[in-house]
Each structure stands twice: as C-alpha cells, then as structure tokens.
C-alpha cells in the first residue's frame, strides 16, 4: 500500500481541508463502508454466536470426546491472529471447494464471505470461552437437579443452563461483540470495502489523511458507544429478578 514513506522527507506543512469529507464521493464511500462493516459484523456475529454456544456448551459436558473436539476448536482458532485466518479463508480455502461453490463465491463477492468465515469462526472461539465461564458460574447442582427431574442433558442445557448463562454473560459478551465489530476492520487486508477500507480510499483520492481518519474513527466510536448502550438496555430488559444478582454474587 502507498504510504508517506518513499517520498523522502516532507517538509511541507499539512494543510487541513475538512470539506473533502462532504464534497465529492466521500460521503457515499463512508456510508457504503459503514453498511459493509455492519453487514459483515452482523453475519459474522450470527456465526460466532452459534459456534460459541455450541462449543462453549460442549466444553462443559461430561462426555470427553465432544469436549476434546470443542477444546481443540477453541484453542486453535482463538490463539492464531485474525489476519492469518483472513488470508487462510481467502487464499487457501476456495481452491479446495467444489467448482459450483467456487463459481458462486466468485460471482457473489468471495472476499466478503471469506471475511465472514474468518471473523465468525475466530470470534466463535472467543465467545465460547465467555460462555464457558458463564456456564461454570452456575452451580453444578442446577444441571443435576434438571437431569434428576427427567430432562435429558440437551434439554437441561436448552431450558435451564443456557437461559441463565446467556444472561450472565451479557456484559462480557457485549465486550466480545464490540471486539468483533472492531476486528472487522482487518477485512480490509483482503479488500473487503468496509469502513476502514473506504477511509483509506478517501485518503488515496484526496491526500487528506487526517480528515479521512477522523471521519472513520468517529464512526467507529459512535458505533461502539451506541452498541454498548443498546446492550446494557437488553441486559436490564432480560434480567430475571433475583436470579442474575444471585449468579453474580456467587462468584
């Protein structure tokens, strides 16, 4: 990528021109970048939540083969940089897929779906850890009582353990969701036209780095702050009186 290096020393003073943000196509670019970031994050979030709930639950079951598979998934995907996963899903996985799938991907934005997979699978492993600690903070007797009253282990998780655990993990889960949103910026490396990518594009076209970066940064900040406040509203709405407080105090 082009940068301020290479041109030798620049002794010219920087001239601010904030109007680049609302003249030309900048506004359109930022908006489309914002939409892509939201789409990418939303789809990846869904995948991450599904994978996280599945593997996080499996890591707490008694049956060791399932636990081992889940542990392997979490420890491997969580401990490798997201950037490496981006390249992996973008460059290494498509050639292994059947022809029909490849053609569909090339026609429908391969880089977007590669980024979705990379971000979803990576964040799923991180969600899994959050959920596991949530489940482990619920007394084991809850599970034993449910099984004793005739529920299968699956039913016990579905109707007793998970509804409580998911409520307990709303604050750390929000943190992870915000991390997912911020991590979606790594998708620019495989040329997904998300917010950071569009910020760079404005800089490329106008050579006004500070203005472009300020706009992008402010959008991220507003996104993060508003998501955090929505989630704290959700936390209050879904709270079970007494139960959650009890769950916290036990720690």
């Amino acid at each position: 990528m082009r940068g301020p290096r290479g041109g030798g020393t620049r002794r010219v003073n920087y001239q601010f021109r904030w109007s680049v943000l609302w003249t030309g196509e900048s506004g359109q670019w930022l908006l489309s970048g914002l939409i892509t970031t939201l789409e990418l994050s939303a789809v990846a979030w869904l995948i991450a939540i599904i994978l996280g709930i599945a593997s996080g639950s499996l890591r707490t079951v008694r049956f060791w083969p399932l636990r081992t598979v889940a542990t392997f998934y979490v420890e491997f995907f969580r401990n490798v940089p997201l950037l490496v996963w981006m390249f992996f899903w973008y460059f290494a996985v498509p050639p292994l897929l059947p022809d029909g799938v490849q053609q569909w991907l090339f026609a429908n934005g391969l880089e977007f779906w590669a980024a979705v997979c990379a971000l979803g699978v990576y964040s799923g492993a991180r969600f899994s850890e959050v959920l596991r600690s949530g489940i482990q903070s619920i007394p084991r007797t809850q599970l034993e009582a449910s099984v004793a009253s005739g529920l299968t282990t699956f039913q016990a998780y579905r109707y007793v353990i998970l509804p409580v655990a998911l409520r307990i993990i709303i604050p750390p889960g929000t943190n992870e969701s915000l991390n997912l949103l911020k991590n979606s910026s790594v998708a620019l490396t495989i040329s997904v036209a998300e917010l950071t990518f569009q910020t760079r594009q404005i800089e490329t076209y106008t050579a006004k780095a500070i203005e472009a970066l300020t706009a992008g940064t402010l959008i991220y900040l507003v996104l993060c702050v508003s998501l955090a406040s929505i989630m704290s509203w959700v936390e209050r709405r879904t709270a079970i009186p007494g139960l959650i407080v009890g769950g916290r105090q036990r720690r």
């Binding site: 990528m1 030798g8 490496v84 390249f87 460059f91 790594v186 950071t196 992008g216």
Partner: protein, 225 residues
C-alpha cells in the same frame, strides 16, 4: 494439498526474517512483539495509576485515553500513526517505529485497565499501613501496592500479552516484514497458500498456546493466597 516441501524450502526466510527479524528486510514478529509488550506495559502502569488519581485533571485525560482507544480498531490506530507521525515529526518514520508506537499506544489502554483493576484489588488497609509507617504516596505505590497488584494481575496480563502478540501480525499491512508478511511474500512466489498459511498459523499457535499454559501454571502456583 499439504506440500511440506514448500515450507522446508522457505523455512530460513520465514523463521529468520519473518519470525526473528534477522535478514535484509526490517521485520520480525519477535523483534516487534517484545519491545511492544515491555513499553506498552510500562505506559499501561502509568495510565492505570492515573486512572485512580485523586486529582480530576490527571484522572480525566487517562479515562478519555482508555475509552478512546478501546473504541477504535487497532488497524485504524496503525493508519493514524502511519500518516500522522511523519506530518507531526516532519520526517519519515520507518515501519518499525510506526508499528511500535501504534502497538504501545493502543495496548497501553487495555493494559492500563488491567493495572487499574489490579491496584483496586489490593486492600485499602495496605496503603493506610504504608502511609502510617511514613512512606510517601509514590513510595507506598512503588513498594507496597504495585508488587501485590502485579501478583493479582498476572493472569489477565498474560492474556493481554497474547492478544498483543497476535496483533503484531497487523504490522504487515504497512509493509513490516513480520511472519505474516513473510508468508505473503513467499506465497506470491510459490502460490501454495494452504501449507504456508497453515504453517504460520501453527507457529503463532505454538507461541500463544505456550504463553497461555504458562499463565495457567502461574495462576495455579501463585493463586489467591
């Protein structure tokens, strides 16, 4: 599919240049990660202490700093440094300097929060006792509070160091020749993405996983006394 030969052929470049930073290019994952961790932690200690300062004019800037950097993607911070440092310093900065500054500034916000939580976990009586014995505010922080706080922080600190270690891969987007960039360069020549990216994933994994095992070991050995 799994062509191990390509890794073997490029192993010196990947490991020496990409991982350690010995070679013709400015690079090296470890060469970036180690100073980032040390300097980021030092800055983090100051920010953590500043967050707890009784004076609002020290506390507030530190709070704004932490909240700002926790709300912005690291990629954005790297680009900020990349474009703004040459403008402010009026000279060109090598990729290493840009990446190091970005990581230290960014991670210090997260490490600062850990330090703050660690300091808050030290019982108030410890400070009072230290002050009663005649130590100054700085002295009691340095000799009484911080050593105990550090012990409590170790697990979350190591977790954050692991995050930082993984984040150094992002230095490759400004052209720093780290392990990820080295794999990219080799892949451009060899077109063997599957074994190459899997290989560097395993290298990263070995480093981070051993760090997290060590953290678990420390947690068990030190424990909540």
């Amino acid at each position: 599919m799994l062509d191990l030969d390509v890794i073997w052929r490029n192993l010196p470049f990947l490991m020496l240049q990409g991982f350690l930073g010995i070679g013709n290019f400015v690079g090296g994952t470890l060469r970036l990660a180690i100073p980032s961790i040390i300097l980021g932690f030092l800055l983090g200690i100051f920010i953590g202490i500043a967050r707890l300062a009784p004076q609002w004019w020290i506390r507030m800037p530190a709070t704004v700093y932490v909240e700002f950097f926790r709300g912005v993607p690291l990629v954005m911070v790297i680009f900020w440094m990349w474009f703004v440092m040459p403008i402010v310093l009026k000279t060109s900065i090598p990729e290493f300097g840009v990446a190091l500054t970005a990581f230290v500034v960014f991670e210090a916000a997260y490490l600062g929060e850990i330090v703050r939580a660690g300091i808050q976990s030290v019982p108030r009586g410890q400070v009072e006792a230290a002050r009663a014995l005649g130590l100054g505010a700085a002295q009691s922080m340095r000799w009484v509070v911080l050593p105990q706080a550090l012990k409590n922080m170790i697990p979350s600190l190591v977790t954050q160091f692991i995050v930082l270690f993984k984040d150094t891969s992002l230095a490759s987007i400004i052209g720093f020749m780290d392990l990820t960039k080295a794999a990219q360069v080799v892949n451009n020549r060899e077109i063997r993405p599957f074994p190459l990216y899997l290989f560097i994933a395993v290298v990263y994994w070995i480093c981070t996983y051993s760090m997290s095992r060590y953290a678990r070991y420390l947690e068990k050995r030190i424990g909540p006394a």
